[in-house]
């Protein structure tokens, strides 16, 4: 499966408090959460992001709170995949569980710029910056993890009898 979109880019240690501030955790509704996603470091995020866009970030993305609302709000904003140098462990687990595609690739993060058009092949792990023509190789997820993601998460996959 290939995900293609325009890049929004952030730095290291983007924490779950800025991905979705706790003041909005009085709901679990994905659409409501999406309205406030990233607003403490990027007030314009909700308006500028389009369906399929790709989020690119540095080390330790998603650190802090265990709130599943963080990957839920990113996914509901239309982001099709997050490419980071590394992910914090609870965020990593939560993303797979709710079906948000993620991939680690430090080299790609260094070279890709805000606004570039990028495509990611989840099967092979090849990341292509279509704006610059550069290609990067990430470690693809094993097939069963990919199936969890493409089926919309762990619970949906259990219901569908995939795992």
């Amino acid at each position: 499966m290939i995900r293609t979109g325009k890049v929004v880019k952030y730095g290291d240690n983007v924490d779950t408090d800025v991905i979705i501030p706790a003041r909005y955790l009085t709901t679990g509704d994905p659409k409501e959460l999406a309205v406030h996603c990233m607003e403490d470091i990027d007030l314009d995020f909700h308006n500028k992001v389009e369906d399929g866009d790709i989020m690119v970030a540095g080390y330790n993305f998603g650190c802090g709170s265990s709130r599943e609302h963080a990957p839920i709000s990113i996914k509901a904003s239309g982001i099709s995949i997050v490419i980071a140098k590394s992910f914090a462990r609870i965020f990593y687990r939560n993303s797979i569980n709710i079906g948000l595609a993620i991939v680690e690739c430090p080299e790609a993060v260094d070279k890709i710029s805000e606004g570039d058009k990028v495509s990611v092949d989840l099967d092979t792990g090849v990341i292509t910056d279509e704006t610059t023509g550069e290609k990067f190789q990430a470690e693809p997820f094993p097939e069963f993890i990919q199936q969890i993601i493409t089926n919309g998460g762990l619970v949906e996959s259990i219901k569908a009898g995939i795992i």
Binding site: N13, D15, D17, V18, P21, A22, R23, L25, T26, T27, G28, D40, I41, Y59, N60, C63, G64, S65, S66, R67, E68, H69, I72, S86, A88, R89, I90, R93, N94, N97, I98, G153, L154, V155, E156, I158, K159
Partner: protein, 420 residues
């Protein structure tokens, strides 16, 4: 090749004689925890699964602590969702206002976690119970839902950093300074995916409250868990709080560690983490002039009796600075009651502090002490991220109860000995 303490607990709960770092294991859970923010999402997922009942009515645990007493109508709906679910399924350990406390202070106090347990909680500070010699770690709501349904969770077996403690902490240094010092050394992703395993002759000099503070902030170094060896201090604590028998695991002598960090407790100074990361640490001697607007003493990190008592001993007989709002939050009802009976609440109130019912409240910018743009707080909490306690342009400085108390009196970040 031997196993670390965390690996041994995971192996035993997976029914295996041996595990090694990187191996995927399915483990049996002794407790599955959630709060009023994460449980409603887990309940939604649980219901989607079509499961009729939880795996064990005594092991599933919900604590209403984040936005309680309900801060608004939406928060009221969230706690009602949890209350209705627990009532319907006759879940024993549901802790509502009047019985609740901040979850990671409450569970040890109620004896719900003992040495050797495996605990998951849909709250990142679930790693706190490592102080009792348990393997405990934070997960999201979907993992909580699957844990509630099956009593199992999968883990990648972590490698570990060995942290050797020596010496004894000087006066006015406590567990908070130990963990801030360590995070300052290794960084906010310095233990990513790993266990932080404490050992050394200095361990015996740490109270259970100090240990709980140290393991509480393992997540602030990116760790999967933090864990202390079980000793007389642990066994005495468990004896006083639980009917359950602890199971003691020890790291093998030939266990392999990714790195070894040595910390001489006697050399530590009161330490403050500057905005906006817990790794931005400075000793009290390096802070300079930082004028503040608010002090918060409480949270799952530093809301225990010992923490609040340390603050009271500094504040007693003083007045809070005119420019400061000082908010004291005992972590549980039992702690609150003890402080009241011993007259410590009066000390705070006479000094000009407010004392709140147990809640996570301001720590995560929920309620009970939100900051405006440009305001600064010294807090005994665990995170100082952008916007954590309110406006994205406010600032949080993390410190021990002693430094927070001294700062409340001085009106700026201050050492405890400056206000004696």
């Amino acid at each position: 090749m031997g196993m670390t303490m965390s690996q041994k607990i995971l192996a035993a709960h997976a029914g295996l004689d041996k595990v090694e770092a990187g191996q995927l294991v399915l483990v049996n859970l002794d407790r599955v925890l959630g709060n009023d923010v994460t449980s409603p999402v887990a309940i939604k997922e649980f219901n989607k699964m079509g499961v009729k009942d939880v795996y064990d009515k005594t092991k599933v645990t919900m604590v209403m602590d984040h936005f309680t007493p309900n801060k608004d109508i939406k928060a009221a709906i969230q706690t009602k969702t949890c209350r209705d679910f627990c009532n319907e399924l006759s879940i024993v350990n549901f802790f509502d206002v009047g019985r609740m406390g901040i979850e990671h202070a409450l569970l040890p106090e109620k004896g719900l976690v003992v040495s050797g347990d495996v605990v998951i909680g849909a709250d990142s500070h679930t790693c706190t119970y490592g102080a009792l010699g348990a393997f405990s770690t934070g997960v999201g709501s979907t993992d909580m839902a699957c844990g509630m349904a099956t009593g199992k969770a999968w883990f990648k077996v972590p490698s570990a950093i060995k942290i050797v403690l020596t010496g004894e902490m000087p006066e006015y240094v406590s567990g908070k300074d130990v963990i801030l010092h360590i995070i300052g050394k290794i960084g906010v992703d310095g233990a990513l995916y790993k266990s932080m395993e404490y050992t050394g002759e200095g361990v015996k000099n740490l109270t259970m409250a100090d240990r709980l503070t140290i393991t509480n902030m393992a997540i602030e170094a990116g760790a999967k868990n933090g864990i202390f060896p079980v000793d007389e201090v642990t066994l005495q604590y468990i004896k006083e709080h639980s009917d359950r028998e602890p199971v003691v695991y020890e790291a093998d002598e030939d266990a392999v560690y990714d790195e070894v960090l040595e910390v001489n407790l006697s050399e530590l100074r009161p330490t403050v983490a500057f905005p906006h990361l817990p790794e931005n640490t400075r000793t009290i001697d390096e802070v300079g002039e930082v004028v503040i607007d608010q002090v918060v003493i409480g949270s799952c990190t530093n809301g225990l009796y010992k923490d609040i008592k340390e603050a009271a001993d500094i504040i007693r007989g003083h007045k809070i600075a005119d420019n400061v709002r000082a908010i004291i939050i005992p972590a549980t009802q039992d702690i609150y009651l003890r402080l009241m009976k011993e007259g410590l609440l009066a000390d705070f109130i006479e000094a000009g502090c407010v004392v709140s019912t147990p809640t996570c409240g301001p720590c995560l910018g929920g309620h009970m002490g939100i900051l405006a743009k440009g305001e600064r707080a010294v807090a005994t909490t665990n995170r100082n991220f952008v916007g954590r306690m309110g406006d994205p342009e406010s600032e949080v400085y993390l410190a021990s109860p002693a430094v927070a108390a001294a700062s409340a009196i001085a009106g700026k970040i201050a050492a405890p000995w400056e206000v004696k």
